[in-house]
Amino acid sequence: MKKGTEINRGTRSYATKDNRFAIQTFSLSRKFGDLVAVNSIDLSIEEGELFSVLGPNGAGKTTTIKMLCCLLRPSSGTATIMGHDIQKDTIAVKKVIDVSPQETAIAEHLNAWENLSLMGGIYGLEKEEVKKRSEELLEMMGLTKRAKDKVRKYSGGMKRRLSIVMALVSDPQVLFLDEPTLGLDPQSRRSIWEHIAELKGKKTIVLTTHYLEEADALADRVAIIDEGKIVALGTPQELKDSISDIQVMVVKAKNLTIDVIEGLREKYPEVKEVEDGIEIKAKEFSFDEVVDYLRPRGVVIESTSRKQPTLDDVFLHLTRKELRE
């Protein structure tokens, strides 16, 4: 079992440098003007661990990854990758990492082969090795047939697929995947997932995603970040368990007024308007209490029911934000 899986909400223990970890961050922070994009993040990721970073738009996921890849300078704090400091030892860091950026990053005038050889060559790989790996990667992404076409002529999804596998040519020790499956069709998404699952245990992988299923199925541990801070950290199961005591009540009703909903919000922290009614989330409440509140206010209740919390609920509960807009 991994260590340090205790659910962590805001409280942080100051990490000390430890070579067991592939990635360690020490109060890593980044500001853009007045905006604090990443706010004092402390993480220790073990070698071979698949670590997923989850968070709404603008949470600071990409900013964190860019700092770990030496593209952005931390405003304060620092981090190490395989023991190398990201600010002092950039070349040593760059030798062991590779990144699939959130944005599609390919050379438009080259074909898929040439794009992959470009990456292989830059990392100093032998031609034969690059060729062998490229063949596998193109096959995996279903690009073999189009491999000799200029990538300028590819569809958006094809470009995306190529962009992802370009991070895999160099066979890095530490791999950063920034929303790798964004904009892919289900089949390509599944191939990527399968490939990531194969790499699991062999490489240290940091994966950002909006798909909870993705994190749930693949990750050893998940960090949920919001507004630059870690709001929860643990295995997927631990995260789900952490809100298992939370109940969700679905009320289908008519005549719900804004005043009534506001009134409910004062009693219960999470009241969400859904189609034909409302969803109330709380640690403890009784149906009678809710019904007794609604009836005298002219609300016509059609049905009430209880729902199992989903992973999306975990996220919503912690960040009070929808994961996908």
Partner: protein, 240 residues
């Protein structure tokens, strides 16, 4: 030599842009042909006198094209991906400069080749002329690296206009003696007039290296400074 693979990609980028390559190569040829009839009337406009100025003026296109490609790539996701690879600033600068060396050689060959057909004469050592002019062309590529590292692709053309004007008034079109005074001295501090004067001295008067040594080192020094500055600026842009 990991940068070679990137240089190869950039080489394609340069040669697959027919408009820019057409301008880079077409400009000196056009100028030479345009001045040809005038040269018959005014001795200042003979191919022998004009060729060095035309060549150096044409090199401003190297600055423009190399600066634009670097600035544009710096704005692209591809370069930000390549910046996470174990390459250093000088690898990037090499990879973006190298593809322009054959372009510069083609420019020089065209100016002097066509000039020759139009009656250009070199009384001194042709190799010496090539050396000075060639080092100057590398300097202009270095200027492109400065512009491309420092500026956005929108700003490059604006600043490049200044490079262009400095070249025109630095001896490529306007004889410095005609300007005189402080302006002449200022222009003499730049390398452009030195390259042109040195090449002309060899072509017209047949002087040897020792006579143009100062000019040559002036040009070489600037070229090295341009590259050093380009590399430093690029390095500073590698991490934001």
């Amino acid at each position: 030599m990991r940068f070679m693979i990137l240089a190869k990609r950039n080489f394609k980028e340069v040669w697959l842009d027919p408009l820019s390559i057409g301008l880079v190569i077409g400009l000196p040829v056009g100028l030479l042909l345009m001045f040809q009839p005038i040269g018959r009337l005014n001795p200042f406009f003979t191919p022998t006198i004009l060729a060095p100025g035309i060549a150096v003026y044409a090199f401003t296109m190297l600055t423009f094209s190399s600066g634009m490609i670097l600035a544009r790539d710096r704005e692209s996701a591809l370069l930000s991906r390549l910046l996470t690879a174990p390459l250093r600033a000088n690898d990037f600068i090499s990879a973006y400069s190298l593809p322009y060396i054959p372009v510069a050689i083609i420019q020089i060959a065209l100016v002097f080749g066509i000039g020759r057909l139009l009656g250009l004469e070199i009384s001194g050592n042709a190799g010496l002329v090539f050396l000075v002019i060639f080092v100057m062309s590398i300097g202009y590529i270095g200027l492109g690296m400065i512009l491309g590292s420092l500026l956005t692709s929108k700003q490059v053309p604006i600043v490049w206009t200044a490079v262009n004007l400095l070249t025109i008034f630095g001896g490529a079109w306007v004889p410095l003696e005609a300007l005189g005074g402080a302006f002449q001295r200022a222009m003499k501090a730049l390398p452009f007039a030195h390259a042109i004067d040195a090449a002309r001295a060899v072509m017209v008067h047949g002087v040897g290296f020792s006579d143009i040594a100062v000019d040559f080192y002036w040009v070489l020094g600037y070229t090295l400074v341009f590259f050093a500055l380009g590399t430093i600026l690029f390095r500073r842009r590698m991490v934001e």
